[in-house]
């Protein structure tokens, strides 16, 4: 059934179709509509779940951890400061190997107080052991929620899918809402290997001394590595049933491309249009969309950029004191490979400032005009002149 819905509601439909059993969330702009709609689904009897009202995001994640520990499929959603408040519990969810799924609506951190989009909130959680997927469209948002459970429950790691504030969260797009039957075929009920059970009680999360702690961390990294192929397979199975897939990365017009733009989330849609225009004008330019950020698809990125003479990474985020986070990740991915083209790191659109086709054209033109980047961070559209 096709419906015109906003990104937030695409998340809600995804969680409903995935048959989330426990939902614990705290409202925060621009995420609130996600849980509002889930609570409406519940009230109308369309969702058989426990909906837990909590007093903070820290508690929301704690409640999901409890639910998931007891073997339930748990879901939550948050944004910006809410995600930051969850930080401690994000480590716990991963360390306890709980396949919780969360939607994070990217929101710039304050102060200056902001409710608009920026990726720094979620990228700042990259070391917590969560899988991360950045979505471009409302359809991709819905589909990624369902895929997220499929992947998380195989590798036993929590998974976050990320969407831009307002640009996706509050923007209406036509979305195909799949049949429950098909989703059930794709995503079987979660069967936890170990769970809290008063009938067979075990101690979870106990203290682990130096002789054994490191092995637990080793296993998390192994699961992350495994997740690359699990995600690829989950995406493939998704295509078989629903006729759509997204890949871990998406290569757009990369054949003979001299300059490759690298983007994520909604900027990708704009960049795709610009690439088409520039191609018509004769520029040899292509686009690499990075959808999976954790685990980082190093092999896919190396392959995609194997022919690029120059790479322009567009970051709507910043790691203060270093630079754009996607740019750093791309550099790191290529360094030990055989092909190491110059990598231009552009920072643009922080705090929800529009990134227009002209902005992206400017980035492409800059990259064509320069053999190497003049500086580590190339700021775009900063009003400093």
């Amino acid at each position: 059934m096709e419906k015109v819905i906003m990104g937030n509601h695409a998340v809600s439909y995804g969680a409903k179709l995935a048959r989330a059993q426990v939902i614990a969330a705290y409202p925060i702009t621009p995420q609130t509509q996600i849980v509002e709609m889930l609570s409406e689904f519940w009230a109308e009897g369309l969702l058989d779940a426990k909906f837990i009202k909590v007093e903070s995001e820290h508690s929301a994640m704690a409640a999901c951890i409890g639910a998931s520990s007891a073997g339930a499929r748990a879901f939550t959603a948050t944004s910006g400061h809410g995600l930051a408040l969850m930080h401690e519990m994000l480590h716990w969810a991963a360390g306890a190997r709980l396949p919780i799924v969360m939607a994070n609506v990217n929101r710039a951190m304050g102060p200056g107080w902001s409710i608009w989009t920026e990726q720094t909130d979620s990228l700042a959680q990259r070391d917590t052991g969560w899988l991360q997927f950045y979505c471009e469209s409302n359809q991709e948002v819905l589909d990624s929620v369902i895929q997220a459970f499929k992947i998380a429950e195989q590798v036993l790691l929590p998974t976050m899918l990320v969407l831009d504030a307002f640009v996706l969260s509050h923007t209406q797009e036509p979305v195909d809402i799949p049949d429950q039957e098909l989703v059930d075929r794709y995503l079987p009920p979660y069967d936890a290997r170990y769970k809290l059970d008063p009938g067979d009680p075990h101690a979870f999360g106990a203290m682990v001394a130096p002789p054994h702690y490191m092995e637990l961390r080793y296993k998390i990294q192994k699961a992350m590595e495994e997740a690359v192929e699990v995600a690829r397979q989950a995406d493939g199975e998704f295509r078989e049933i629903f006729g759509r897939s997204y890949g871990l990365v998406e290569k757009y017009r990369l054949e003979d491309a001299e300059v490759v733009l690298v983007a994520s989330a909604t900027i990708t849609s704009t960049a795709r249009v610009v690439v088409d225009e520039l191609r018509e004008e004769g520029y040899k330019v292509g686009l690499l969309k990075v959808r999976m950020f954790r685990p980082f698809p190093t092999k896919d990125v190396r392959e995609a950029l194997a022919g690029a003479r120059k790479v322009a990474v567009i970051d709507r985020n910043i790691s203060f004191g270093h630079g754009g986070i996607f740019a750093e990740e791309i550099k790191s991915a290529l360094y030990n490979g055989s092909h190491r083209p110059p990598i231009f790191g552009f920072i643009i659109g922080l705090g929800g400032r529009d990134v227009t086709p002209a902005s992206i054209r400017g980035i492409a033109e800059y990259t064509f005009e320069h053999d190497t980047p003049e500086m580590e961070i190339i700021w775009r559209e900063v009003k400093n002149s």
Binding site: H202, A203, G205, A206, A209, H212, E215, L216, A223
Partner: protein, 604 residues
């Protein structure tokens, strides 16, 4: 912690920090130094009911829609729920913890609801055995009939002797029908008679028979009430047109014709004064011209000290009765032997007297005259104990105008018990019921040759069917207010004032003139749901949900047993092998039904 573990394969390596063995071996109960226990405690309503009703119990039954069971729960203690649900001053409501969040529960009206809702049904209780020992009861008021009821339930043959031609004592002749329809009283008396209680009317002790005529009876209960109206002790009191309040009420209730003048003065501040004033208003009214007479109550103190039920005072004022506070008559003005008015003096309040109320003092020079064709003194009643003045009856001691009784209701003469207003100072139907029940329990013991011990002081309730609960009274601070919202109290509807005062009808009154109209089922449900169930486990599962050790198990599955209110520990089981004694269950319990006991008595 120091032993080296080497994993043979990567698959052997654990991926999460989890114990492989069961944690059941770790009996964390050994950490405990306090122990939670399910102990039902006494709600303030139950504690304050003079008739000893299990109020929380029947409120819970109303919530469950179990009206007959609720009514029968009252009937275990009090055979007059229909009467008390109308005329009781409901001390149960005065300490109700709901006061803090929307007003006390309308317990009074709910009691009436149960009686009215089951009006077509009869109680299923019956005496299980029969004794030969006969008991005589003197007086068919609430004390006498309650005593008869409880003795009959225990299997004793009981005969009640009543001085008047009608049964019910003050319930019948002292309370106006607009407060207590006759059919309600008759229905409840019929339930008592159905147990085999014999009632002989027109048998006045002292006139028609003497105590010494009752030798065939193994025990006697005297509950003759207060029959003598107190005198004003002012000049002119014996004039025509002066009629004591109780006399007026009695004559109206016996269907005699009573006339009052256009200006009526009632003297006193108790329920008799208010009842007499409101009756006079109705007697003097014409259907075509309501409130055609003027009725004024004179009271020597202020509104605050007025002993009548507050709601009754409000209703009297609403109907048009006037009240002059801080006024007392010093002379009744007469002409040709008929009262024409009163000479009054204004009062001021001085230091508190032995009753705790401020003593009224006349203000010199404040005398004034008031026109009155009818004067109704209603300043209280006294016991008429003249029947005790001859022969061996003198062995029954009278103190300060009352027959002296001990905590068992026994007089100074073995085998003779007394109760109700002739022996106690409380003056309500509910107290009289409690007093009669106390005597019934004592007479049962006496006839079995048991010690008359173990009775609570005379101002505390006794229970015919003991309810297993801790005597500690639950106060608002003991509850967990996080679980309760403010909800407004529901008030029962009342008959419109014009309809109430347009003429006094002697017949068909129940359909016509009762002031309070009671709750319908929906109102009763809503009101009962407001109850906090203070101190009473109602299987809300809060303890079970909060227990961090999963050490609480529910033993009873819904539907809840009857009566729901008296689970008292039977609802849940604490597994003390694992309960760490954190106390969260007791702390969180919304209604203080869980107690904490020290596990270890620390020694120095």
């Amino acid at each position: 912690m120091t032993e080296e573990i080497v994993f043979k394969t990567e698959a052997d390596m654990p991926y999460l920090p989890m114990s492989l063995g069961t944690t059941l071996v770790n009996k964390t109960g050994s950490w405990r130094y306090i122990r939670p226990l399910y102990v039902d405690k006494t709600p303030p309503c139950n504690h304050d009911c003079p008739a000893g009703e299990d109020i929380v119990g029947y409120l819970a039954l109303i919530e469950e829609g179990k009206y007959k069971e609720g009514w029968e729960l009252i009937m275990q203690e009090n055979p007059f729920p229909g009467v008390c649900g109308r005329v009781c001053p409901h001390p149960c409501e005065s300490e109700c913890n709901r006061r803090e969040l929307g007003g006390a529960i309308a317990i009074h009206t709910l009691e009436r609801f149960l009686a009215d809702h089951t009006a077509s049904q009869r109680p299923s209780v019956q005496a299980s055995k029969r004794y030969d020992a006969k008991i005589a009861i003197i007086g068919s008021g609430p004390a006498g009939l309650a005593c008869a009821y409880h003795l009959a339930l225990r299997g004793y043959p009981v005969t009640v002797f009543e001085a008047l031609p009608v049964v019910g004592g003050m319930m019948r002749v002292g309370i106006p029908e607009y407060r207590l329809p006759r059919e309600v009283l008759e229905r409840e008396i019929a339930d008592i008679e159905a147990l085999g209680v014999e009632i002989e009317t027109n048998m006045r002790l002292g006139d028609n028979f003497k105590l010494s005529d009752l030798e065939d009876y193994q025990a006697i209960f005297i509950a003759v009430g207060l029959q003598k109206s107190r005198k004003l002790n002012v000049p002119g009191e014996d004039a025509e047109g002066v009629i004591p309040g109780l006399e007026l009420l009695k004559r109206v209730n016996l269907g005699e014709e009573v006339q009052v003048g256009p200006s009526v003065a009632v003297i006193g501040g108790g329920n008799t004064a208010v009842d007499a004033a409101r009756s006079a208003l109705r007697l003097g009214s014409d259907v075509r011209e309501p409130r055609s007479n003027e009725v004024t109550i004179l009271y020597r103190r202020s509104r605050e000290e007025m002993p009548a039920i507050a709601g009754e005072i409000e209703e009297a004022l609403a109907e048009g009765v006037k009240i002059r506070y801080l006024s007392a008559p010093i002379e009744l003005l007469t002409e040709n032997g008929w009262v024409m008015g009163l000479k009054c003096v204004k009062m001021e309040l001085g230091e508190p007297d032995e009753s705790g109320r401020r003593r009224p003092m006349p203000i010199a020079g404040s005398e004034y005259a008031l026109k009155a064709d009818t004067v109704i003194p209603a300043i209280g009643q006294e016991a008429d104990t003249s029947f005790l003045e001859t022969g061996e009856q003198r062995l029954i001691e009278v103190r300060r105008g009352h027959i002296f009784i001990d905590a068992a209701g026994a007089t100074t003469r073995p085998g003779i018990f007394a109760g109700g207003d002739v022996a106690t100072p409380f003056g309500t139907v509910a107290h009289a019921v409690g007093s009669g029940k106390r005597a019934a329990l004592a007479i049962d013991k006496y006839l079995r040759g048991e010690e008359l011990s173990g009775f609570p002081p005379i101002d505390e309730a006794v229970h015919a069917v003991p309810k297993d609960m801790d005597p500690a009274i639950v106060r608002f601070d003991d509850l967990n207010p996080a679980y309760f919202e403010e909800i407004e109290r529901t008030e029962q509807p009342q008959r419109p004032i014009e309809e109430r005062v347009s003429g006094f009808e002697y017949f068909g009154w129940a359909q016509y003139g009762e002031v309070n109209l009671g709750f319908n089922e929906e109102e009763a449900q809503a009101e009962a749901e407001r109850c906090f169930n203070c101190g009473t486990c109602n299987l809300c599962d809060t303890c079970l949900i909060f227990c961090p050790d999963v050490a609480i198990a529910r033993l009873v599955a819904p539907p809840y047993p009857v009566p729901l209110a008296r689970l008292n520990g039977a609802g849940y089981e604490v597994n003390y092998d694992y309960c760490k004694g954190c106390g969260v269950c007791a702390e969180e319990c919304p209604r203080y039904a869980i107690s904490i006991e020290k596990e270890i008595k620390w020694k120095k």
